[in-house]
Structure formats: C-alpha cells, structure tokens
C-alpha cells in the first residue's frame, strides 16, 4: 500500500509536469476500472500506460521547468522510468483488488473504496505538489 501510494504520487507529479492534461480523466477512469475488476483489467490498463508514454513521445511533452539545454538522454530516461512506474502501479492495483475478492461483500466494498481513495489521493497529491512548486 505505501509503495502504491508513493508511485501514484510520483506518477501524478510527473503527469502534471509533462502537462498531459486531456489524459488525466482517462487515467482516473483506468484506476477505477482496475479497482472494480481486479487482475482481469491488467492487460488493457497496460495498454493505457503505453498510450500515455506514446503520447508523451510523439507530442514531445517536456517538463516546463527543465532548462532548454538539458541533455536529451534525461528525457528518455525519465519516460522509461515513468513507463516502469506505470506498469508497477497497474500490477499492484490489479493484484491488490483481486486479493479483495476473497472478502465478504460489505468488507470488500469498503476495502475497494479505500484502495480507490488511496490511489486518487496519491495522484492528487502529486498534482498539487507540482502546482504548488514543490520539488521543482
């Protein structure tokens, strides 16, 4: 859980830094899909992560705070790392949600809601940290 929260915060921060605004809604939807469905959502959600990275590459999203003479390697390393983080988040969320299916209905719904709130809180915290110029 702490790893998931941390990775969601990192993802939220970098998504805000790379200004991938239209894809935020899709990301929120994908997290909801993962929490509701479980491991059956992992394959399609990985497709979404790849779509995010492809968008960042093909549209040339670059962090606004990086100097123009920043070596190009850093950008590529950053996107590779974010891709890895995204895949880890998808697997953690999917498998965590899948493990909840063993629980009774009422308890499962509460745990699912907690998991969803934790994920969204991580993403929002990352977004706010960037907007409030923290860590830049």
């Amino acid at each position: 859980m702490p790893v998931l929260f941390l990775f969601c915060t990192v993802s939220g921060w970098w998504m805000a830094a790379l200004a991938i605004w239209p894809l935020w809604l899709g990301t929120v939807g994908i997290t909801l899909y993962l929490v509701v469905v479980g491991s059956g959502a992992i394959a399609l959600s990985n497709g979404w992560v790849m779509f995010l990275i492809a968008t960042a590459i093909f549209k040339g999203h670059y962090p606004a705070f990086w100097p123009p003479d920043q070596p190009y390697q850093y950008w590529a390393t950053l996107l590779l790392t974010l891709w890895g983080v995204g895949v880890v988040v998808v697997f953690l969320l999917g498998l965590q949600s899948q493990s909840l299916k063993q629980l009774p209905h009422r308890k499962r719904q509460v745990r699912r809601l907690n998991l969803l709130l934790l994920t969204w809180a991580g993403l929002c915290l990352g977004y706010l940290a960037y907007r409030l110029n923290l860590l830049t």
């Binding site: 590459i57 040339g60 390697q73 590779l80």
Partner: protein, 146 residues
C-alpha cells in the same frame, strides 16, 4: 432418465483436475458393491479403455493464459506453443457464417496484437537509444509528427 445430482453423491470432491486423472480415478468412482462384483480381468479392461479415452496433453513450450474483463463481459486469451502430436486434423462442426466470423475475429486480434507488440518494441528501443545518447537522425521524433 435425467441424471439427478444425488446420483453423484459418491463422487469424491477432492478428485484431481481433469488432465491429471488416471483410469484408477474413474474406477474408484464406481459404486462399491458394483466395483466388488467386477473381477480383476474386467477392471484391467476398463482401465485399458479409459486410458485410451483420457486426454494426453502435449508438453507446452509456451503456455500463456490471461483474462480480459470488460465489466459487462469477460474474455480469456490463451497462447500455446508445443509439438503437434495429433495424427489426424481435428474436426470442428462449424457453420460457414461462424467460420467467417472466426477468421475476421482472428485477423483483428492478430493485427491488434502485432501493432501493440510492434509499438511497444519501437517505443522502448527508441527510448533506450535516446537514453544512451545515440542519435541516428537529426532532430527529435516528435518534430516529424508536428
């Protein structure tokens, strides 16, 4: 006469999975009094016939199975690679319409899978190349698309 669930009450619930079963697993499911009435020769003959009927799956080099849940419906995808030991082609009782539908679905799936894998390989190779500081062409990839 339709079979009632109570007729299977003697079936052991801890019985092994279908592909791991042996003839003895089936012989042991016969009602004890009927089983006792069979002589050794009859049991051996039953075992011989059951052995022929049991599935003998070929060992798989690749055995990848996963599900895709679309909330309203679920699909499973299976990819298997192994030595083909089948002597005769398997017969599928399908209608022409089903066969056309299967071909279209298979083509769409294969093309989608191909595009996904190709894009994944291309993007990862491009990022690794860039991260290593190798420049094959002047400019950036996104400048081509803009």
């Amino acid at each position: 006469m339709p079979l009632q669930s109570s007729q299977f009450s003697h079936v052991d619930p801890t019985i092994r999975p279908y592909v791991q079963r042996t003839p003895a697993d089936y012989i042991n499911q016969i009602e004890p009094e009927i089983r006792a009435s069979l002589n050794q020769q009859q049991i051996q003959e039953f075992e011989r016939i059951l052995y022929q009927a049991l599935p003998k799956p070929a060992p798989k080099i690749v055995d990848l199975r996963f599900g895709i849940d679309l909330i309203l419906t679920r699909f499973f995808i299976v990819l298997m690679v192994g030595q083909d030991r089948r002597k005769r082609p398997r017969q599928y009782p399908t209608t022409p319409l089903t066969r056309i539908g299967n071909v279209i679905a298979a083509v769409v799936l294969l093309v989608s899978l191909n595009l996904t894998i190709s894009l994944t390989l291309f993007l990862s190779a491009y990022l690794v190349k860039s991260a290593l500081g190798i420049n094959l062409f002047p400019g950036h990839l996104w400048s081509i698309f803009q």
